[in-house]
């Protein structure tokens, strides 16, 4: 098996890229996608360590994270659609009032 | 799905009875002018054997005897004035507007004033039951003072009759649209506008129907040559010199 440090590296790299995406992009959909990237980075870590110790329990957590990602994507995209219908935009910095 | 074919047929026997005094004899010329002034069947282009045909023939034995064709030489058909109940009703209702009532080849024609077209149309539909606007078109007579005949062909389902209403229209004279009476006039008036340039007032969407909207000229006018075309349009939109 590849040393666990390389998995951590990969995981950190994906996490950093995801954070850069969240911070710099204006499009809410891409921000959501960056969040998916981050969740994915976590999964890699979990599975790698689960393999390291020879138990599948880490994978169970990964499954829960995927479930969570699915729920988050569904609700998040629903909000985006509702927002787009009202404001005709998906840019985060134009979502600046609480009520319309 | 099938229905009794005779159910909708009462008009025919009744009419045949009414027009008893008229050219019921099959041998007489069916096109004799003035033969039907008293009848109430001005728009009945039924063959003279109508009375015979009213009785359904036995299958296999056609009722119509193969007689000689009617002699066509008697008198050439030509329009004649018409004065029957229908025309009288129209005349009393719209005293000045009915300019002429004609019978041409057994088809009734009312010539009316164009400005009262809408009223007459509504009356025709509501009171006289001409509920189907079969056709609306125009004829161009360039030498006349009012160059266009606006022709409306009407049909009445209850009476099984046809009636033709004609209005004389000058160039650039707006005509009331009958779209509100018969919605089908929408496209027909657009076509008349397209082909003759007759402007219908009150039409919801008066633009060319068959020709492109930017086309110049009105093709069915008599002064529009058959080889003529909107060359500028053809060149610009089709990229060729001539559409011929």
């Amino acid at each position: 098996m590849v040393p666990i440090g390389h998995y951590i590296f990969l995981s950190v790299a994906l996490l950093a890229i995801g954070i850069v995406g969240i911070v710099t992009r204006r499009n809410v959909i891409i921000i959501l996608m960056s969040i998916e990237l981050i969740l994915n980075a976590v999964n890699i870590n979990l599975v790698a360590f689960s393999r390291l110790v020879g138990s599948v329990e880490g994978q169970i957590f990964a499954i829960f994270i995927i479930t969570d990602a699915a729920a988050e994507a569904a609700v998040g995209l629903g909000i985006i659609i509702a927002f787009f219908r009202n404001r005709e935009t998906v840019l985060a910095d134009e979502m600046d009032i609480l009520k319309w | 799905m099938t229905n009794d074919s005779e159910e909708k047929q009462p008009p025919r026997p009744a009419e045949a009875e009414k027009s008893a005094g008229t050219p019921a004899a099959p041998s007489a010329s069916p096109f004799a002018p003035g033969g039907t002034p008293s009848s109430e069947a001005p728009a009945k282009p039924v063959a003279p054997s109508a009375a015979a045909a009213a009785i359904p023939p036995k299958p296999g034995a056609p009722a119509k005897p193969p007689g000689p064709p009617p002699p066509p030489k008697e008198a050439p058909p030509k329009p004649a004035p018409l004065d029957n109940d229908l025309v009288r009703r129209y005349k009393t209702r719209f005293s000045g507007a009915i300019q002429e009532a004609l019978l041409d080849r057994r088809q009734a024609i009312l010539v009316i004033a164009a400005d009262r077209l809408l009223e007459i149309a509504r009356y025709s539909r509501d009171e006289e039951d001409f509920n189907l606007l079969v056709d609306l078109t125009a004829v161009d007579w360039p030498k006349r003072e009012k160059r266009f005949d606006l022709v409306l062909n009407l049909y009445s389902f209850p009476k099984n009759e046809r009636l033709r209403i004609k209005a004389l229209v000058a160039e650039n004279e707006p005509v009331p649209s009958v779209e509100s009476v018969w919605p089908t006039a929408n496209w027909l008036e657009r076509e008349a506008f397209d082909m003759f340039g007759i402007v219908f007032e009150g039409h919801s969407n008066l633009k060319r129907l068959l020709l492109p909207e930017e086309w110049q000229g009105y093709p069915l006018r008599k002064d529009y040559d058959i080889l003529q075309q909107d060359e500028a349009w053809v060149r610009e939109n089709l990229g060729i010199d001539s559409g011929q």
């Binding site: - | 099938t2 909708k8 025919r12 296999g60 079969v134 068959l210 069915l220 058959i226």
Partner: protein
């Protein structure tokens, strides 16, 4: 590029859109607009909220041409309008001119005209059925229908040498005497045509998907149909029992017994049933007609040069698609002063907008198919 194709222009109604609306341009090159019809659909999702037909792509100025041909010369042109029912077109035109002239076709000609016209009606309906089913996705009926239509076209070919644009009749009667086996051919065709119609019905009438796709689609009430000037099978499917063959008989229809099928709800399914039944009735007429074709001349007394006296005529027949009318004005010369053709397809197509509102795009196809339009006739 865009400049070149902007011919259709813009319409205020369709350019101002709601938030969720899109414009879908159907045609003029589209597999199921039956020719070069262009329908601009305003859609909310897939639901039609409005439509506009753009027609005229096939406009050839037939009415203008008529004014520059003499009466006989113009006759072949009418075959090119409704090219799936050329015989019917010819019949209407010839009868109209005959009336204008004040002559009448001899009985033998009239009976043969009736036979050929009814065959043409069957052929036209067959073609409609095949393409309509194809539009809804049933591939196979088309070929069954074309097989039977082929038989009819063969009869036409034997009679006058042409299959599609036949120019079968002449003013005053007919040019050609019927060939010897006409009766036999027609009888052979009619004998098992009933079973063939049953075959189509077996494929479609009870089919769940077919019923689901056609029932309640494109409903046209009787009042709306009359107001929109709709005629023919479409009108009858709305429950109006009106057929010019019965109401104002022409040719030899007054001699035969047949019934006028009508529908109840005026939806696509009813129109389908009405047309199927009409095919059966046409077969019945053909069978009655071939039993006794009167002997005698086939051409009435018309001169070589036709000069109808001044005046005008409106004559219409029951074409396969509806009331096919000819309004001819004569000024006493050899050429018509004005010929106006009342194309049934045009008025039927006009009702399209009303019929498809609130339906889905897929239904638009079904409704266009059920109207049985021929663009050659719409555009003329």
């Amino acid at each position: 590029m865009a400049e070149r194709y902007k011919t259709a222009g813009t319409n205020v109604e369709t350019t101002v859109l709601g938030a969720d609306e899109i414009i879908l341009n159907m045609g003029p090159q589209h597999p199921s607009t039956h020719g070069v019809l262009r329908v601009k659909l305003r859609l909310d999702g897939e639901k039609v909220v409005g439509s506009e037909c753009v027609i005229g792509y096939l406009h050839r100025g037939v009415e203008k041409i008529a004014e520059h041909r003499n009466y006989q010369q113009f006759a072949p042109y009418v075959d090119r309008m409704d090219y799936v029912a050329a015989v019917s077109n010819g019949l209407g035109y010839c009868e109209a001119v005959e009336k204008l002239l004040g002559v009448e076709a001899p009985p033998r000609a009239r009976v043969i005209r009736t036979i050929l016209t009814e065959l043409q009606r069957i052929a036209s309906h067959l073609f409609w059925l095949g393409t309509h089913a194809l539009d809804i996705g049933a591939l196979t009926p088309l070929f069954y229908c074309l097989r039977e239509r082929e038989e009819i076209l063969k009869i036409f070919e034997k009679y006058c040498g042409a299959r599609l644009t036949t120019h079968a009749f002449r003013i005053g009667g007919m040019q050609y005497e019927a060939y010897d086996e006409l009766e036999k051919d027609v009888e052979r065709f009619c004998k098992d045509f009933d079973k063939r119609v049953d075959e189509y019905e077996a494929l479609l009438t009870e089919n769940r998907i077919w019923v689901g796709r056609t029932k309640g689609i494109g409903v046209l009430t009787a009042d709306a149909a009359i107001a929109m000037g709709v005629t023919g099978p479409v009108l009858r499917a709305s429950g109006v029992q009106w057929d010019i063959r019965k109401a104002m008989p022409y040719a030899a229809y007054d001699q035969y017994e047949f019934s006028i099928p009508t529908g109840k709800s005026g939806d696509t399914y009813d129109r389908y049933l009405v047309r199927l039944e009409e095919m059966r009735q046409s077969r019945k007429i053909c069978l009655q007609a071939i039993e006794k074709i009167p002997a005698g001349p086939i051409l009435g007394k018309v001169g070589k040069v036709l000069k109808p006296p001044p005046g005008e005529i409106y004559h219409s027949i029951e074409g396969p698609k509806g009331e096919l009318g000819y309004y001819i004005v004569s000024d006493g010369t050899t050429q018509p002063y004005r010929v106006r053709i009342r194309p049934p397809s045009l008025m039927n197509l006009e009702a399209l907008d009303q019929m498809i509102r609130g339906h889905l795009v897929a239904d638009v196809v079904a409704v266009i198919g059920t109207l049985d339009i021929v663009l050659g006739e719409v555009d003329r």
